[in-house]
Symmetry: none
Subunit: 204 residues, 4 copies
């Protein structure tokens, strides 16, 4: 995931490839993303710098690949569907809070989000590889709820997903307040209320 450049990938050394990803993961944990250097990755991986530059366009791209390979298998697949939307959402949002708070994921995630601000291509890859599966899983659960009449017919589910996760990321990224499970619960409750088919709209 990530290479778009020219060289013949069949001749790629899988040994070096893995060593680079491993070294990147280790080093980003040890010194942080800002003080992470290509030279250090190459040295730690026992690899020439050119081998990194040959296959990745930037430091961010290496770290993204490393991060993806790290959180490799744990595709969130689908949310459980207990029939209780609010409970299911609370579960997934609590899990999200836990992940965003786990230092193992927090540092690389913040780094990639930061890097994405100035590198739209990286941003795209980051979202598709890391974020999209989570969003899609939630959206599928919402679709089921919509079919079950727990979510109003007219709601655009892609917006609904961001209504749910947006507040969490906002607090995480901007550190407006501590990111807790209580907050996750409150957001889930409010979101469910927002999506519920209108009993009546008292506005007019």
């Amino acid at each position: 995931m990530g290479e778009v450049k020219t060289p013949e990938p069949s001749r790629r050394s899988e040994r070096s490839h893995q060593a680079i990803l491993t070294a990147a993961v280790e080093l980003v944990g040890e010194v942080g993303y800002a003080r992470l250097t290509i030279e250090a990755i190459a040295a730690r991986a026992g690899v020439g710098k050119q081998t990194i530059y040959r296959w990745w366009p930037s430091k961010g791209a290496v770290v993204l690949d490393a991060f993806v390979s790290l959180s490799g298998g744990n595709e969130p697949a689908a949310l459980p569907d207990t029939g209780d939307l609010e409970a299911d959402l609370k579960m997934v949002l609590r899990a999200t809070v836990e992940e965003l708070t786990d230092p193992r994921f927090e540092l690389p995630s913040r780094a990639l989000t930061a890097e994405s601000q100035s590198d739209p291509a990286l941003s795209q890859q980051f979202v598709e590889a890391v974020l999209r599966p989570h969003l899609t899983a939630i959206q599928e659960r919402l679709r089921a709820a919509q079919r079950a009449g727990q979510v109003a017919k007219g709601v655009d589910l892609s917006v609904a997903v961001e209504l749910i996760v947006g507040p969490l990321f906002h607090r995480w990224l901007l550190r407006t307040a501590p990111l807790t499970k209580a907050y996750a619960d409150t957001v889930a409750e409010l979101a469910v209320a927002a999506l519920r088919p209108a009993s009546r709209k008292p506005r007019g």
Copy 2:
């Protein structure tokens, strides 16, 4: 705003101070934050590098000060209160979309958000100086609505604020989809629905 270091501030050259902020604003617009250097700011401002290092701890801090001085007076003060919460929120969210899309603000904002990921001190200053006034203004409007019975009594308004702005920032920061005024409207509608007192959720 921003200085925390030692030297005697009374002897500070206001002329150099302003020149530095101006140069930073110009340069961040010309080359972007990533390629912005302290040396270039000093050169453009006609100032010794030491004069920058003396008063600011990092490149981010200079840019934050420059950004704040740029958007100086326009404190958002308070939201209008037309009595129609949804309409008032749509107005402020549309304005927010406009600002986040305005290249004059977008680049420095993204840069400072990115830099905040690895610099919690900067993050704190950024939030307090730039973001907090907006959040507070929205929260005040919500308090009025709560008093008017348009928002449920039990709702934690600081969470409500993030429910409203979170989805916008999520889309802006992660570029999951284009950030449009239609999206702002939808978010406002859903948020109002979430906060409405109405019948408590019919689930139990």
Copy 3:
């Protein structure tokens, strides 16, 4: 000329061999010896790098072979013997000046002389392949002159040869002054005077 390594020479591709020498000659003329690279020779010759490393031990060795193949046939054979030693020497020294000044020969010659300073093996090959024939030709002419009584009996002719060509190379290599045919003539006259059988030695 030059190969000392192991592989079976009968299977050598003459096509590649020639292409390499041609490419080396062209490139040394285009970019000079210092900026000449094995990679560039291989690319220009349409040859794998290994094919060069297989048959030559160093860049200098390739260029030496290329240079020898360039100045291939024109073995100086023997000097003319008009009976007038001084005239014959002037002729050969003037020709030498011309060659040392001809850009076609000057650049590779200087490069190989330079390289020889740090590579005695190359030095040996260079001297034997390029220089020795010239020196030998002059020495033969001196031997004839010695037989004819124009050169003193006791003179060591190998030293005499270097007395003649040394001053030319000195000026060429060290650029102490322009290398001209007038200088060649003067050197020839002085050398002949040095070698002439002593009328008497007015020293004692």
Copy 4:
């Protein structure tokens, strides 16, 4: 000696300057010129690479300065004048042979001569700083001899000097044969014979 570039020399750190020259001398002795790198000089000298690139245009220029500062004071001044030209020349040529054979001088000298082949500016500086004093000293001795009637009136002394030293350098640079004191003596004898006024050549 050597700097031709822009920066203000008054602010130059004499400490770093000396450390660089010392490191260069040491390293050229330890690993030879070809394997000498700017990086190693900087590391050994405890100096940033830029400090070298700021003040010298090339590796050769650094080594030349280092070499000159090494052989700093020992200006050859003037040759002794015992009245016996041949004896005096033998003395100086033997000394030259000794110097050219002394490893302390041989390696840098060969390196600078080699480098001069592709860098005429360096060549010029090398000749003027290192070689010219020797040549001038010999030329002065020859002038005295010419006044004393031991050298023919019409002889161009600058050519005469190269007649004397050229054969030595020829053998040293091209390694046509071992460079010995016996060779130096023979060259001196032949040179004196060449320059002697005596009976004009009996040829015409």
